[in-house]
Symmetry: C2
Subunit: 417 residues, 2 copies
Amino acid sequence: MVGSLGPNSRKHKVTVVGSGNWGTAIAKIVAENAANSNGIFEEKVEMWVYEEKIEIPETSPHYDASSPLCQGEQNLTDVINKLNENIKYLPGVRLPTNLHANPSLEDAVKDSTILVFNLPHQFILRICDQLKGKILPYARGISCIKGVDVNENGIHLFSETIGKRLGIYCGALSGANIANEVAQEKWSETSIAYDPPHLDSKCPTPHRSPNSSTVDIVEFEHKDTSGQISDVKLQPVPNEYPPVDHALLKRLFHRPYFHASVVNDVAGVSLGGALKNIVALAAGWVDGMGWGDNAKAAVMRVGLLEMVKFGEKFFGATIENRTFTEESAGVADLITSCSGGRNFRCARLSIERNLPVEEIEKTELNGQKLQGTLTAIEVNRFLSKQGLENEFPLFTAVYQILQGKMSVADIPHHLEC
Amino acid sequence: MVGSLGPNSRKHKVTVVGSGNWGTAIAKIVAENAANSNGIFEEKVEMWVYEEKIEIPETSPHYDASSPLCQGEQNLTDVINKLNENIKYLPGVRLPTNLHANPSLEDAVKDSTILVFNLPHQFILRICDQLKGKILPYARGISCIKGVDVNENGIHLFSETIGKRLGIYCGALSGANIANEVAQEKWSETSIAYDPPHLDSKCPTPHRSPNSSTVDIVEFEHKDTSGQISDVKLQPVPNEYPPVDHALLKRLFHRPYFHASVVNDVAGVSLGGALKNIVALAAGWVDGMGWGDNAKAAVMRVGLLEMVKFGEKFFGATIENRTFTEESAGVADLITSCSGGRNFRCARLSIERNLPVEEIEKTELNGQKLQGTLTAIEVNRFLSKQGLENEFPLFTAVYQILQGKMSVADIPHHLEC
């Protein structure tokens, strides 16, 4: 092959959109792998940072009265780039020098072929609107945003929302991953789901002429559970780039301390991260009752089965049971969340203090909201509209308890069959 | 139907063989259900007790200086029957009055159609030899004995060993069941596996004439992984009795506080209770290292997958993956064992105190042995004889660590793929 248009003559540029503690932890991983990629990825990885002003406090290990960085307010991006540390959202963790904090969204994503989305879900639509027209039309996305968007009318995966808004394909990453533990390189696992239409396969498709950089346009369908179908014109990744496939995503995300498994089941990986929070509330209540480890394991097992059933019922065509029962994004994330996650802890405290969960939420979470209570209510609205509450007795029990219509002591009877 | 030989004109007599804390807890459950069975079971349930002498101490709530029961040594069975409490092995738990402690094995099993085996596994062979010729030839068994018998040459289920020795069919019961919690009626779940050859089905088989009490003899095959096939002549349960099927076993074992699920997969239910102890050691080590909840969930997930793989490889014809990933005897028992079970606790202590597990075992367990270390060694012998150690990296890592040939810090690298 000759010239810059030959296969694999170009490297993937990777941008992480978001820089909270989880965003920064993932950017660290991606930059570490890009630095040792043997020409697959550009070494420099961009991380878009919502710019804010910060001051380095005198108590910080980075404080140096003589440094210009310590003279009053500074841009967060400047501080990150100079110190190689996100002292605001991931303090104490050294970042690779090839990770560049960029305050300009447009500049950060320019020419990027791989976009990693890792920001609070309430910002997705706004950010996508800002990204429209600014990204490569053949870029690929990975959403690290936990959970799904559920309402009466349907369940929407954040990865799908991003994909539709931007006209690109977007997969998902989820697992038993507490951001600070991952950042400290404590061993964990994750699941990456990626299953685009067969445009990017190594075998050339009829739509693609292998030696041309011309981008063919192929239509594929996004079908969500609301029955809504939107046609997105998906463009194949030009073949000058290494193919964006499972092996490439493993190279981008797998680390010795962060074991990544790459699967096809985007819906399963995304749903696991949402539904487990409902189960964690139930596990916290049962634990608070002092019923012991048997009972806690029982409620987790029943919850896992309802997750499987929910997936089968509403994403039957695409979901695989084994995602819930065998993947990090399923059973392992459930176990972690029922060990010490905030939904579990607040539910347990609510029994110990004999207060409703929302009271605990107010006193314990500094104004933040529990994901589990929101998801339990949303999922219940969706199920009850379809008359399916009885088929999910644990999810329904959690909702009823949150509404004060059932007591925790009734859980075993409610689950009896 | 007319006369005493008509369908369902006879009731099942149930005997529990064994009276430790788990044996007594199960006997309590069975007797509670027999007392309310609407004619399916004899009300009186027998529990065979290895007779011993005990003295009621003055500190006991049952002590009454004027009672003949408190004048020196008494038979344990007399004490159980008079106080309705097994003060030696399950103190503080009231037993149903229709449960009869019986010191005579022969008398306890006489005319019993359902035998529930619940005693330490090292006594099985001896007890079976004593039972030979003393039980009904068409009795059915349920083994509550945890684990399996593994050696270099094969894996033998205790239920199979009992069945072969006695010439009867024997199923298995296992789950996330800590005996004392079950006895205190704290909610838990269990799995019962029962899958006899089609002799007992409601549809008459060619071997069985529906209106006769004649017992036809049919041969069925027990095939274990050693390749050894033994022919057992299995006799159908006469049709004067209600059929011994999944529904009947649910009536016998299910309680509002003890939810029983009845499945076919005897090998899966039995293997789960053995292999989870290997995983619990790894979880304890990882927890002891302070690697956090992500890492503990990861090692449990990998362990669960190796349990599935082990089942598929060696019991492929009969085992169902979902037993491990969805049943109480699988994932829930694994979760319980990795929360506070003794294998988990001793492994964690071994890291915290920087001592080998066998040292912790000596100081913490009053001379008892950890099941996990025995099983890890037995399973390793079996795997290594077949050259399959590399296919089970976690099981192999646990063995290597126990042998001092690998360090816990190497677990993540060892599991990397």
